[in-house]
Amino acid sequence: MRISFFLFSIIMLQVSCWAQFNDVVIKTPNGFSTTNVAWDFGRVRHIVVNSNGDLYMKLEKLYNGKGIVRLRDLNKDGKMDDTLRFGNYVGTGIAIKNGYLYASSNSEVFRYKLDAQQNIVDTENPEKIITGLVDKRQHASKSITLDEAGNIYVNIGGPSNVCQEQDRQKGSKGMMPCPLLETAGGIWQFKADKLNQSYAEGIRYATGIRNCVGLDWNKEVNELFITVHGRDMLYQDYPTLYDQKRGAELPSETMYMVKKGDDCGWPYVHWDHIQHKKILNPEYGGDGNKTGVENAISPLMGFPGHMAPNALLIYTGNQFPEKYKNGAFIAFHGSWNRAPENQEGFYVVFVPMKNGKPTGNWEVFADGFSGMEKVTNLSSAKHRPCGLAQGPDGAIYVSDDVKGHVWKIQYNQ
């Protein structure tokens, strides 16, 4: 009797654990499978997987005073069984390149040397390579990526919705020219191995970018690719120009290839994927149709508004079918500015690409993170995709910054 009760308890415990860790069902195309590799790590922003399979997660809220987590599978049974925590700062960006782990706070970038066994040589004393970047709370997260030539690229988001004289004040005019662009609203390039660089040592690589949270170096064409969050409040502030539905769909969220010196047009224009034009923002005299900033570049693709593309991964692995090679995975965090319409996003999409150009339309690749059919209130979404990484075996990883789960998506043929 006692034994059966004991067994029953164990089974119930397992069922409740299963329910806890598999609280949502992730839907992927045929042939793919999804497993939970990490759960309940808190505000997990960007992630990276090292050549030995170690998973690094950057946290936006400290846990026991630490902001980076490394998970390691010691006995190679497919389950992460070792947790290392370090780094006393919050932030979003994390990357690995040429034997170093790079991680960002909201104003600085640090790097940690990895030894031959892929252990961090000194978790307590990283090298501070970039410092003094604008952190005015709004759009303060610093996403990072590195190229093949020793450079690191840092997103410095514009600390504003659309550079109004009074930020987010209905009716307030846009500043001309926008002074924020001097130190923010763009991508800055720094040396990956030089200490204590700030604006004077960096290059404003591309400007007119409101807030790029996703960025990745496309190795096929050797260029920087970014995903950008479009402006808020078109319907709320200009209901006569944008009705409720149009204000939910617009402006587009966007993916660009940016070259040195490019301007994407923020805050003066936004991309409209329905008209396929750069439309002048109403704060700068726009009427919903007038175009502007003719020398600004156009995105490679526009997506429905406000879905928040928080991570970009150009797929270079060999595990997935051929169509995925050199294409873009984008993690959409999910919207809030579509209210009172239902929210949208909360999924990972795929854009097929060749030679750095889309070869077809975007499609939803992994869905179900929110745990509900329709999200009306953002706080009810169970998970929100925030980071993407590619493992050495070609599987991809998706992180969530609500609960701090990470899923691994594999192709099984």
């Binding site: 809220k61 809030w336 009172p340 009306t376």
Partner: protein, 137 residues
């Protein structure tokens, strides 16, 4: 004598009931007017359930910003808020614009709605209270 006492008690009870109902009716109509103001000016950022947007726009549920000082609450609506703010252990980064263009009645109504919605249950905010805070500038 006993009859008189009973009638007085009943009468007092009736008066109190009517009084509490008049307060209720007043508050109730303020709440229903406030809902319309909320939907037009507040819902996008604070969401239909008052739950806000993680990291960006704070929730207005079970927080002393809503339950506490009416003067502070009215002041936030009038002047907006653009400073580090922590609600229930989390930080929120988006600035809130000034809503001073709303009338004293609209602000009283929307705050009465917020203080009596999403599980909140706190006394009404009166237009006269908004007027006092507005006058202080």
């Amino acid at each position: 004598m006993r009859k008189i006492v009973v009638s007085i008690v009943l009468l007092l009870g009736f008066i109190m009931m009517v009084q509490s109902q008049t307060i209720d009716i007043k508050t109730k109509s303020s709440i229903s007017r406030g809902k319309i103001v909320y939907e037009k000016y507040c819902l996008t950022c604070h969401q239909a359930d008052g739950g806000g947007v993680p990291r960006m726009n704070p929730p207005i549920i079970q927080t002393t910003y809503v339950s506490g000082s009416k003067e502070r609450l009215i002041g936030i609506v009038l002047k907006g808020l653009n400073q580090p703010i922590e609600v229930n252990g989390d930080e929120y980064e988006n600035p809130m614009a000034s809503h001073a263009y709303l009338s004293d009645l609209q602000i009283a109504d929307v705050l009465t709605f917020v203080r009596n919605s999403f599980g909140n249950k706190y006394p009404a905010v009166l237009p006269s209270e908004v007027k006092v805070v507005r006058a202080k500038k």
